[in-house]
């Protein structure tokens, strides 16, 4: 075997075992630049500064083909931002995103187009993500038609099939988005994403607006598609019951950073990170009635001005002096498990 062929073979092997999507040190900042008045005030020595939101901060994450990774975390911690970067809708500020082993920034145009179609996102906010001036048949059916997944002749049957699969009555295909209920709109978004036959789906609170029986129908559909077509999912949800049910692996974020990552059984059975522990004890259950809900203890930290060291320290019952100064690294604590907490460094 020539050296060249050997390198080629190795590259192919590497390719087939490479994760479907991989993030390396990915960050996203949103900047609010100062307006003129602000700049003048700053010149004059006033205490105004440019506001920067560190929405996603140096995240490493890999998702293998056929895997379901659940992404959970507090509201505003950067889940949607991360999801949008994975789906290629939002560029990263820094870091590398690899699609099937290749940097998305250097993909040739043909492949970039294919990747764009292969990765679909179901948006958190169905109303804002559906064009209000288009009827449902175009919202769902246009992309498959444009990309030649279906011919004009088969279109009606294909559309009906896609709508029915998401639990929508095809008789409504001539309606506009505002003529649907909230949950029906969410299903339009689901049908639109599935209609282009994607390989990877970012589900951002995709079933949050559905009653549990329709939610069950959609989640079962997701699981069937995974079994039959080997679909891969990044499943963003605040509903821990749903995440537990569906995911192989769970990733927990807090204020832009991943704080824990583990197989789903392990996270729910023995959460390691203090934030994960707090998250799991707060879960409302159908069996607990007339609860007295309690206010969040301690101040909710702001991504505009995140706490030093470990972002969780102002709310952590175990916080030590070190936690205020040094950000804990995300480290392996067991095979397949990572956590970012100083407590894991043994007797501290």
């Amino acid at each position: 075997m020539t050296a060249e062929a050997e390198i080629g073979r190795r590259a192919r092997v590497a390719d087939s075992t490479a994760p479907m999507i991989e993030l390396r040190g990915v960050s996203k900042q949103f900047r609010k630049t100062l307006d003129l008045a602000g700049r003048i005030a700053q010149r004059l020595g006033a205490n105004v500064r440019e506001e920067v939101v560190h929405a996603v901060d140096n995240v490493d994450l890999a998702v293998k083909q056929g895997e379901v990774v659940g992404l959970v975390g507090e509201s505003g911690c950067g889940k949607s931002t991360l999801g949008r970067m994975v789906a290629g809708i939002l560029p990263a500020s820094s870091g590398t995103i690899l699609w099937k082993g290749q940097d998305v920034k250097t993909l040739p145009p043909e492949q970039a187009k294919a990747a764009k179609l292969a990765i679909q996102m179901i948006f958190q906010d169905p109303y804002a993500s559906l064009n209000p001036r288009l009827r449902v048949d175009r919202i769902i059916g246009e992309a498959p038609l444009v990309h030649g997944l279906v011919t004009q002749g088969e279109f009606d049957a294909y559309l009906a099939q896609q709508m029915r699969r998401a639990g929508l009555d095809p008789a409504f295909k001539r309606r506009y988005p505002h003529q649907f209920s909230g949950g029906q709109r969410q299903r339009i978004g689901i049908a639109r994403a599935l209609a282009v036959q994607p390989e990877f789906i970012v589900c951002d609170e995709a079933v949050a607006a559905l009653d549990v029986s329709i939610q069950a129908q959609i989640l079962n559909l997701f699981m069937d598609l995974r079994r039959d077509l080997n679909l891969t999912y990044l499943f963003i949800s605040h509903d821990l019951g749903v995440v537990e049910h569906l995911s192989d692996r769970v990733v927990i974020m807090y204020l832009g950073r991943i704080v824990e990552e583990a197989p789903a059984e392990d996270v729910f059975a023995s959460p390691n990170h203090p934030y994960t522990q707090a998250l799991l004890t707060g879960v409302p259950r159908i069996d607990s009635r007339k609860r007295a809900f309690s206010a969040v203890r301690g101040e909710i930290p702001s991504p505009l001005n995140p706490p030093s060291g470990c972002h969780f320290h102002p709310r952590c019952p175990h916080a030590m002096a070190r936690c205020r100064e040094e950000a804990p690294k995300l480290k392996a604590i067991a095979p397949g498990r990572r956590s970012a907490c100083h407590l894991n460094d043994g007797a501290a």
Binding site: G76, D125, H238, P284, R291, S294, L304
Partner: protein, 327 residues
């Protein structure tokens, strides 16, 4: 019991007169909520929960309209008020938190502008005072850095933060009735707890009544006093939270509770109610749940009425699950 309820809805019908036919989105819906009480309104997606809320608020747009019934707010029928009179009540005495926060928020205005405007629309206070109230409301719903956030635009917020701003706006005037439409669906449990805490406090301290529309049975379980379950534009079951969740009488309610993920084995298909929601355009005669119901019989070809087979329980079904209650 003798106290007048804050809101009493009697035989409400709200229909959309579309080209394809009449969509009876709400059909013969009745319920009432007393002072400081919390009603959970749950049910199938598309069953008419939001439209019920819009009807109370007087916000049903053509081709839809309230086609019948009464909406008594402290004894006054809202359906008979002029738009001018309704405007005085809306936002100040009755507020709605919409399922979609962008129905409350204007995308091109800064949050402070929107919140201050809302305060000034009903209260004659200085702008500084209005700003103070807006800031306090953001803190109440758990938004950190309220001063910076007041100066931001809606698109600069995360989904859950937008939802919280919409909640903050609804709380600004401490209304007597709040209709909350899926207000915490996009929120994690800690923030959700914070909001439910504020809401409970408001009901207790100000006597605010609440209609909490949600599909999340675990939230209803922890929050509400009573539950109404809707299916295909009608209320099919009504009762206290404990009664309905522990001993559901209607086959649909039973199916709904059975689909909750935590009641299912991890990774296995979730129990789901077979079949599809019927189209409201051409509901089959008889019970609307018939095609999906394991108990359906010949009798169900006739439309069932709301009955009270047990004290304080109401159900719209010929074969309710009475056996589970007897035990």
């Amino acid at each position: 019991m003798s106290e007048q309820p804050t809101i009493e809805v009697r035989n409400l019908r709200t229909h959309f007169f579309t080209k394809a036919g009449v969509v009876k989105a709400v059909d013969d819906v009745s319920f009432s909520v007393g002072k400081g009480r919390i009603l959970g309104l749950v049910g199938e997606s598309g069953s008419g929960k939001s439209v019920t809320g819009f009807s109370i608020m007087g916000l049903v747009d053509p081709p839809g309209r309230v086609a019948g019934g009464e909406i008594l707010f402290q004894g006054r029928d809202l359906a008979k008020l002029s738009e001018e009179e309704m405007r005085k009540i809306r936002g100040a005495r009755i507020a709605m938190i919409f399922q979609d926060p962008m129905m409350t928020l204007n995308p091109v205005l800064r949050i402070d502008t929107q919140m201050i405007e809302t305060v000034l629309a009903h209260d004659k206070v200085s702008e500084a005072e209005a700003r103070k109230r807006a800031r306090a409301a953001l803190v109440q719903v758990g938004i950190p850095s309220p001063d910076e956030r007041l100066k931001a635009y809606p698109h600069q917020f995360s989904g859950g933060m937008r939802q919280r701003v919409a909640i903050a706006i609804a709380l600004l005037h401490k209304p007597e009735l709040i209709i909350a439409d899926e207000p915490t669906t996009a929120l994690d449990v800690t923030i959700q707890g914070q909001i439910l805490f504020e809401v409970q406090k408001l009901c207790r301290e100000s006597g605010t009544s609440l209609i909490w529309i949600t599909h999340d049975l675990s939230v209803v379980a922890g929050l509400a006093d009573e539950i109404c379950v809707m299916y295909a534009s009608r209320i099919v079951e009504k009762g206290t939270v404990d009664e309905v969740l522990d001993h559901p009488l209607h086959p649909y309610t039973r199916g709904l509770i059975g689909s909750v993920p935590s009641r299912n084995v991890r990774g296995r298909p979730l129990a789901q109610i077979p079949g599809m929601t019927p189209s409201l355009l051409n509901l089959p005669p008889g019970c609307a749940f018939r095609a999906r119901c394991p108990r359906a019989s010949e009798a169900c070809l006739v439309e069932p009425e709301m009955t009270a087979p047990l004290p304080n329980r109401e159900v719209r079904c010929f074969h309710p699950h009475l056996e589970t209650v007897a035990a």
